[in-house]
Symmetry: C2
Subunit: 371 residues, 2 copies
């Protein structure tokens, strides 16, 4: 029998955060693509667009006018998916399978920069630092509002990821319940911390799944590994269980850090440095503005002094970011997660190691700034 | 405090099959859409396309020639995601978080009809019956091959759902493991069957979650309910926990049926009838060829005589089909399940009841056949 070769043999890998498997079919990249292609994200945009509702000084749908902001600017979404309290009481269900749970909270839009034509991949490290500080400010203020149990910071970048305005911005949805995906992640982190070490029959004693995973990646020999780039405090890897072709998991690895408000000055600077480096590599991969959805997973809300750490399941959280980009082969050919992926399980066409090798080979000088 | 109104108040609903919640934000449909639009799926296609590798008599990438088939035709995918056995042994993992599981099996392509320009929505009931018989044949033959533990029948329809050839066809992936999503569904069905009835403190005694859910839908007053269409044996509903705007759950409701090979002649005819009726309504909703991913969930493989029913967790399966269509507002405006949905949980912009009302209002005479 032949030896197992991950670049030839179909196999499954396990995602310990979501408890789901990924089917890896690396030989499948040879398949010709005859399907839908995406418009390339390469159009030149003006620095200021008089019709953009996010540009400084312009009016939004609500009629309100943006200030002449010169760094970040945050406002409440005019079409929020979640509304402020009070929410009505849940009605009595007609059947146990037909229950509803009212949800309340707030949806903020965070503009990263006044210039319409930039993205995070074109900002300086200090401008990215300003975005990080704004995320920390919102996480801390929304996360301590009465009844708020969860704050989700995310960005949809590129029209292919449902973003309807190229002006660089992200969103923050804060709400009265923990959503399904982070709830599952927290459960997995807690279970890991309370489990036994296989083969040693000894308790893990609160070890953090993500701290241990980062160490396992660091211990994997370099050129066969999944690390894209790292600095003193942060590690960017194509995770062992990546679903999207060039997915990145970004996490601090020097110590167990629950949330962005716990980062010290040096860790924040290193955070800006690594965001700068991975977003530039992304754009350089296919010489286009690389589309993705990005999200921060962390403690659902900042630690509350009134909660006894012994009863606090949120303490198992370890700060990390997911970057989920759809492009597979070029600026116009994406991976579709459809039929089998929606009915069976996620499936990918190149190995995480192959994706990491490609991203390691990319320059950190942005292709548009290349003289 | 105001009363709860599902068409105004953001709320969450629970999906008992996947164990995840859906955030419903019905007021959000008022938001103007400025983002990416899809090319309308309305182009007229020829009945026969000499360049199509699925048309009768034409050659495929492998060099093989399709026969001059006149009903359905099945062949193995030239770019299969899973390969035939033997698979190599799993290597010893470098770390417990880095394990692989080799997978083997087969990927079949099932052409529904010789005509290049048709889709299921344009087939007669007897032609749909031929497709059903072919699904049963493949499910039975692949599902009894040595080592095969799961057979996934699905269809990606429309370029927006990653389908690279409009010639009407679906796929069947058969494999040595049960994928994550049906594994989770089976777990949920088993847990339900073994649970207690709330408030009565009595065991459910193997009640089927989906049989009981179908009854709950039938008992919901008609014009406020989620049933799109039903016949003697089958029920098509926009499920209480629908994620996609016009998602449909299709299931037999007269008796507990594990898989398509258990359908009797009448139930098969009723299956063709209801597929005919829902696919036509779908096309008529926005007067276009309505894109979707469809999948059949059922017993992972046919019942084995050698397995004692008492040890057989697959017996909890209840045959059902998921239709997941992305369009939201028109033939060109889709719902993007991105940022918040990928990081938090699924979110929808109209209630399942509103979607069902729209689909109930659609004709079953196809708009292209309308004189
Ligand atoms: O096999 P096809 O139709 O070429 O490919 C399509 O369906 C597959 C199964 O859902 C997906 O993995 C592919 O991303 C999609 O493009
Ligand atoms: O709020 P936006 O940017 O207009 O909308 C976008 O992001 C939301 C949150 O991920 C999604 O629900 C929408 O489908 C998407 O188009």
């Amino acid at each position: 029998m032949t030896d197992f070769d991950p670049t030839t043999h179909p196999h499954r890998r396990f995602n310990p955060l979501t408890n789901e498997h990924i089917l890896v079919s690396p030989h499948r990249t040879k398949r010709p693509w005859l399907g839908q292609t995406e418009p390339p994200q390469t159009t030149a945009l003006p620095e200021y667009d008089p019709k953009c509702y996010l540009c400084p000084g312009n009016s939004r749908t609500s009629g309100e006018k943006n200030p002449n902001y010169d760094h970040t600017f945050t406002f409440e979404n005019d079409f929020a998916a979640i509304l402020h309290p009070p929410a009505p009481e849940a009605p009595v269900p007609a059947h146990p399978l037909l229950t509803v749970e009212p949800v309340y909270g707030a949806c903020d839009v965070v503009i990263f920069h006044p210039r319409h034509d930039l993205t995070m991949a074109r900002l300086s490290k200090s401008e990215i630092g300003t975005v990080i500080n704004e995320w920390i400010r919102i996480y801390t203020s929304r996360g301590t509002e009465p009844g708020i149990e969860y704050v989700q910071i995310f960005e949809n970048k590129g029209s292919m990821m449902g973003c309807s305005n190229p002006h660089p911005h992200g969103q923050v949805w804060s709400m009265s319940t923990i959503p399904s995906i982070p709830a599952q992640e927290l459960k997995s982190l807690k279970r890991y911390a309370q489990s036994q070490i296989p083969s040693q029959d000894a308790p893990r004693e609160n070890a953090c799944l993500l701290c241990e995973y980062a160490q396992a990646e660091i211990n994997t020999p370099g050129d066969t590994g999944r690390i894209v780039v790292s600095n003193e405090h942060w590690l960017a890897v194509v995770p062992w269980w990546a679903t999207w072709p060039f997915e990145i998991l970004l996490l601090p690895y020097h110590r167990h850090i629950g949330s962005i408000d716990e980062l010290n000055t040096e860790e924040k600077e290193a955070f800006a440095d690594i965001l700068y480096r991975i977003t530039r590599r992304y754009d350089n991969l296919f010489s286009c503005s690389f589309a993705y959805s990005m999200g921060i997973h962390q403690r659902p809300v900042p630690a509350k002094a009134t909660v006894d750490p012994a009863d606090d399941d949120n303490k198992y959280a370890h700060l990390h970011l997911h970057f989920d980009p759809p492009l597979l082969r070029s600026a116009t050919v994406r991976k579709f997660l459809v039929g089998y992926e929606m009915m069976g399980e996620a499936q990918r066409d190149l190995t995480p190691e192959q994706a990491a090798t490609r991203l390691r080979g990319c320059s950190e000088v942005h292709y548009l700034e290349n003289p």
